[in-house]
């Protein structure tokens, strides 16, 4: 009994490690980002990568799709991109008898892994086309709803610097991302490795190590990990502390936040905590797991008020305050 569970945990860790190792062949120095992206995939969620151009965000996603036996598509978001360009559209076709009929031509969203590159460059209308797909895992065109394949995983990237000609993602859409990962500039050592790898004749090759079924199996394993009520209570208290209203509000959120996290934030904390627990060879979620996940899970769910924006408060600062101010479960 316990041997089977233990084996399941070990398998999970091995598969995770394999994917990470393969991705790390191409992507250098972003161990935590790679972990976050894989965790988002296993958490049945989507991930938003934020970083300046040229840091390998797109490369990371494309590499991830390469190491998995999953269908991958990339959508470059531009201001003139239309929703139909993403979801697909009904096309008029003519059969052999010469009769015309409407046939649905699926868009790039019909993949397992979708890279929504520079998602904030598209208009809100186009961005909202992603909403249904991301949450409902389905696309409605005309009167017909088309189910998306499972797993369905959206990796969106955005550039935090260029604000001109961009359309910041609305709160509702931001909330659909399970994690928001910040891609920082690589270290000197990492840059050396990057240069060494990318300036050679031979480009690094990756192997496909994970199939669709294995991903789904891993997702099941994640959800089986138990969490005790006190730890879950801790996750809830942290989530509620992001709200500016008492009784759980932290002083920083009261001062700088307009809105806090939705229940999706708490879900992200718990599910992320479960994945982290498995990776740490544990079969229970600890408060440390919750704390480790908190930044990725909550930073895009805290909406700053005018004062916060004016003082350029980083949501991570608020989260640090919340984590310090929320006592661990006794």
């Amino acid at each position: 009994m316990s041997t089977a569970i233990d084996q399941q945990v070990v398998t999970f860790q091995q598969q995770f490690r394999k994917v990470k190792e393969e991705v790390s062949k191409v992507i250098v120095g972003y161990g935590e980002i790679i972990d976050g992206v894989i965790m988002s995939l296993l958490a049945s969620g989507h991930v938003l990568l934020e970083g300046v151009p040229g840091l390998g965000k797109t490369k990371l996603v494309s590499t991830l799709s390469d190491v998995m036996h999953l269908k991958f598509s990339r959508i470059q978001f531009t201001p003139d991109l239309m929703p139909a360009d993403i979801t697909g559209t009904n096309m008029i076709h003519e059969d052999t008898k010469g009769e015309k009929f409407l046939d649905f031509q699926p868009g790039p969203i019909f993949s397992n892994i979708v890279l929504a590159d520079e998602v904030n460059r598209a208009t809100p209308k186009t961005q909202s086309a992603l909403l249904e797909a991301m949450e409902e895992r389905s696309v409605t065109v005309g009167k017909r709803t088309h189910k998306l394949d499972s797993p369905f995983f959206v990796l969106a990237t955005q550039n935090p610097l260029e604000m001109e000609g961009t359309y910041p993602l609305p709160e509702a859409q931001l909330d659909r991302f399970v994690f928001k990962l910040k891609v920082d500039y690589p270290t000197v050592d990492s840059l050396h490795t990057i240069l060494n790898r990318t300036t050679k004749v031979e480009a690094p090759k990756v192997n496909r190590v994970l199939g669709q079924g294995e991903v789904l199996e891993m997702r099941k394993t994640v959800r089986a990990v138990p969490i005790a009520r006190p730890v879950q209570d801790y996750a809830i208290r942290i989530t509620l502390a992001t709200h500016p209203k008492p009784p759980y509000a932290h002083p920083l959120t009261m001062k700088y936040a307009r809105y806090g996290s939705s229940p999706r934030g708490a879900q992200a904390l718990v599910i992320g905590g479960k994945i982290r627990a498995l990776l740490k060879n544990r079969v229970h979620v600890s408060s440390e797991d919750i704390r480790a996940i908190a930044y990725g899970a909550l930073r895009h769910r805290i909406l700053l008020n005018f004062e916060g924006e004016a003082e350029r408060i980083d949501p991570d600062t608020i989260i640090t305050g919340i984590l310090e101010g929320t006592p661990e479960p006794a």
């Binding site: 089977a4 138990p226 005790a228 006190p230 730890v231 229970h284 979620v285």
Partner: protein
Amino acid sequence: MSDKEIIIKSLERVERRIRTNRLLNELALGATYFLAFPLALKVWDLFDPLRGATIAFIAGIWILLFAAYVVWRSLYRATLRQAAAVIDRAAGLNDEIKTAFWFIHNPRPSEWVDVQIHRASISAKRMNLDTFFPRRIPKTSYVAAGLLLLFAGLNFVPLPWNHNWLALQAAPAFTLTPDEAAILKQSEALLRKAEKLKQPELAEKLEEIVQQLQEGKIDAAQAAQMLDLLQSLLDEGNLDAASIREGLEEMARDLAESDKLEPTAEAMKNKELNLAADELRKLAEKLGLNTPESNKQMQKSLQQASENPRLGLEELAKLLKEAAENLKNEDQQGAQQSLDEAAQELDSLEERLQSQELKNLAAEQLQNLQQSLRQRQQAGSQQGRRGQQGQAQGQKGQGQRGQRGQQQNDQAEGLQFGAGTEGEPTDQAGLDSQAGAPMPGNSEGNGLMPSGKGGSDAPREGAATTLDVKLQQERVKGMQDQGKEENIEEVSKQERSKLDYRNVKSELSPAQKDLLNQDRIPWEYRPLIKNYFQAIRPPDKK
């Protein structure tokens, strides 16, 4: 043992260990804080000794508080859930035990939960209690022990005013000064020597008075009164030693006229009454060998000596007279017996005179002690008055007048004890008397009571005395001032009294009223007369 039992047992063990360590820490810390208090009190005691009752009261409260603290802290117990959290933190188990404990109490049909509990039980089993929760003597216990030693040490500091609380010693309610203690010791010794007076209880009474004073049962004033009483007891049956000595010398002169009685007379003259008694006894033994002439001479001398009427020598004179008569009657045996009895009386007299000297010395010492106590009592009351005056500073008017009156009172007291008989009636003195102070020159010095002989006729005796201070001119109500005259004539807003002033109840005593009726008024009573006439003076007419 199942996984659940292992976890629970471990938690119980940890809880016990945590409780023990916590209790040790808290008790040591509590003891440190609590010991600081008696220590501070002991330091205070070194500068301002505390009484036994005060120490006992504070110590009682201290013990009660500390006992309550110990009980309170001992009753506190952490829950097993808290113990689980502590283990997780100490052993870095990432909420493993805590989660397992929660699942034990909230079971779920899940293999994952079972695995989690199993893993937690293994961790609990592996956990070494002494590694994560070692038994340690808290550092604060050393501080507490140090404070305890310091406290004990302070009790044994060899200072004369230090009292060892550990030996249940404390400062007496009243502390005698070294001089007073010496006087007391001498007085006691003298009184004990005077046991021959058959008044041995006097020493015990003295001891009792001092003990009561030190225990705070009586104050210095009461002690002085009791010493006064003791002194009066000592005075009971006092001999007039000087008169007796004089009488004995006169007797010796009479006896010296006889050759046979000369050695006796010489001894009596030298105040050696025992020797005189021995000589008298020798003379009595050899009486038969004397010639009739010498016996006649002896009879004459004895007769002359017996005629001394001094108080205290009556018995001796009587016996000498008997001896003279027996010699006259040629009753040799009777004369011998009378002389022997006279010798015995001389021995007894010597003894009584010695005792009297001891009594006098003891009385003198007691008087010194009494005076010392009275002085301290006065000093204490003056301090008290100063304190009251300080409190009354904020109150104007009456408060200031009262203070001035008090100062006058003090001045009057000074006069009373200092130059009592040399006082001169002055207006200032009148003011003093109005304020209810004793009259200057009154050696008894008690309000309006008659003064001693020195003061009664003071203005008529010798040259008038002067005071160094310039007396304030007192203006009598209605008297014409040198400056601007201001006569206010107005009908009283209040109705005149319908009572004749003769019927107004007087506060004067009958003796004072009687004095007022006399023609010759003692000068001390003149302010009274002045007040009287001021009171009955009719309003000035325009």
